[in-house]
């Protein structure tokens, strides 16, 4: 009985164990990797993808994709820095988050109410947002004139030893987890993702639920952009390019079903952790980035394969 329980725990927490194993593997190989400084660096590096993945989890649970987050990150980043220079930090932060939510609302309206395919809609949005980011900056990078302001502390500063951005990410995940598991809206997202039609007939406003998932994704991208821009004290108009793949990968690694209706936002955090450890580890060990891509490919397929395998077995027993 005891060993059965242990096996069940291992199966359920497989992704957590995988993260620990990957971390230990790198720690054994490289002395530089296992230092405290590097650990703190990793948890600072993962914050951008982490916060974005929290919002993306909602979109994917709702049964859609959002591939526009990469471009949105670029746009929000350059807007944030430009406004910080002209209007000060507080308006910059507020307007950046607002732009994120607005962009999410547009894709959300198109997908939720007009029932258009989310892939193509957000692909179109990706082009539009990228173009706007390039037009605002005329293709140039934007920098802050003075880095000694409190705004840069969001990305660069630490509270004790823990980076402030990590604390923000953890609070963000806690709030999102409460929304997903403890609020009426969260239940609606899970059930609309599972069966939109049934929800429609049982009186849930499924269009609005989907729209809000995209708004959440936009909001989290806005927050991520503020942290990224603050860390670099500047922004490039294409800095978010291909971020969407990393974000979606993290959510998939976390076990969220791409069919919708199923997912745990806390496991998304583990997925983000795995991705962060891999990225950092490969750089420190000195392997070229293409080895990292191949590994990422194998881990992704492996994780989803194991997920399917365990579910099939469960289905067979019950």
């Amino acid at each position: 009985m005891g060993s059965n329980k242990a096996i069940a725990v291992i199966k359920k927490q497989g992704i957590v164990i995988a993260m620990v194993i990957i971390y230990l593997l790198f720690a054994v190989i490289s002395q530089q990797f296992r230092t405290m400084t590097n650990f703190l660096l990793i948890i600072r590096q993962i914050t951008t993808i982490g916060v974005m993945a929290a919002g993306m989890t909602f979109v994917i649970i709702g049964g859609n994709f959002d591939v526009s987050v990469g471009s949105l990150l670029s746009l929000c980043g350059v807007v944030c820095i430009s406004l910080h220079e002209s209007m000060g930090p507080i308006p910059a932060i507020l307007i950046t988050v607002l732009i994120g939510m607005l962009s999410g609302a547009v894709s959300g309206f198109l997908v939720g109410y007009l029932k258009l395919n989310s892939m193509i809609v957000t692909l179109g949005m990706m082009n539009i947002l990228q173009a706007v980011a390039l037009m605002i900056t005329r293709g140039r990078n934007v920098y802050m004139a003075d880095e000694r302001v409190w705004f840069t502390q969001i990305g660069q500063g630490s509270l004790g030893v823990i980076p402030i951005s990590t604390i923000i990410m953890i609070i963000f995940f806690a709030v999102m987890a409460v929304i997903l598991f403890r609020s009426k809206y969260g239940h609606h997202v899970l059930s609309v993702g599972g069966n939109a039609e049934a929800c429609h007939f049982s009186g849930i406003n499924d269009c609005m639920v989907i729209l809000k998932t995209f708004v959440l994704s936009g909001l989290s991208t806005g927050v991520a952009a503020i942290m990224l821009a603050s860390r670099g004290a500047g922004a490039q108009p294409t800095m978010g390019e291909s971020y969407e793949f990393d974000v979606i990968t993290a959510v998939i690694l976390g076990g969220t079903s791409l069919k919708g209706g199923e997912g745990n936002i806390l496991y998304t955090l583990i997925g983000v952790g795995i991705l962060g450890i891999l990225k950092n580890g490969f750089v420190i060990v000195g392997l070229p980035s293409y080895i990292q891509w191949i590994t990422q490919c194998l881990i992704m397929i492996g994780a989803v394969y194991l997920d399917i395998h365990s579910k099939q077995k469960k289905g067979g027993r019950s």
Binding site: L110, N127, E241, P288, W293, I294
Partner: protein, 321 residues
Amino acid sequence: MNVKKIKTFVSNNTIVPIMVIVFVTASIFVPGFLSVTSLFSIFNQNAMKGVMAIGMTFLILSGYFDMSLCTTVGFAAALVCGLQRSMPVFLAVLIALLAGIVIGILNGIMVAYVGINAFVVTLAMMMGVRGIAYVYHKGSSMLAVSEGFTHFGVGKAGLLSWISILFIVLLLLSHFVLAHTPFGRKTYAAGGNAGAAFNAGIDTKKIIFTNFVICGFGAALGGVLYASIQGASTPGLGWPDMHMLVIAAVVLGGTKLSGGIGNVWYTLGGVMLLGIIDSIMNLLNVQTYISTLVNGMIMIGVLCLDKVMMNKQLKKTNLAE
């Protein structure tokens, strides 16, 4: 009667009125657009993308799509450029095409037989193939040394380039396969309703697997053609959004991502629509930023228009019943 026929034709082929509107507007307002040479050059420029889009059409018709197309293109181009230094060109081309087929087989096995989500499989494959292509390139671009190979890419027979002729042949061939063979009908059936198709005795797994292989082959062929046009391959070729452009072209034409509805002529329309818009931007000397912006808006706009026309059609059929 005739008006009614035209109406049903238009609502079945929403790409046609959209094309006509864009074409007429461009002819009136864009100087230099309406000439035989410029129209043929638009067709020639987009033939390569069309070849990839044909493969993707098969896959989308059966209800799936392939994100790994972008890096498969890069990998095939790398192979064909690298291998022709040490072996005859046709062998290099063959191996490059074979590589695309192998990638398609891997995708197909994992999606159809193992049952992993197609998005995950092809996204992972995209990463993996990108890595392999970089390993092969060793970080720098490669030149195509064979003269015959590069001549094929820029060569013309009259107004049409060789690649355009290849594209037309492939179009006719895939139209034949889709409309007049059991395999084509099974593809529509599997994409329209996989469960019903399975119950009717169709081996849906095999159909899906085959379509992944066709898509992989199309991607590799696109890569080979790209290398022959450019006379070189670069490690970043196709990354990060070639597959997105191809999927967008297929969907803009009117083929449904949910599968079962569409044909290769829609794809031709979608590819050419994007091509015409690109060339209008070029002729008007618009900044690249703005052309990206317009491209994005058009993708969403066409999708909205398609939806509106589809809904009308559905309402009509409902009333008729």
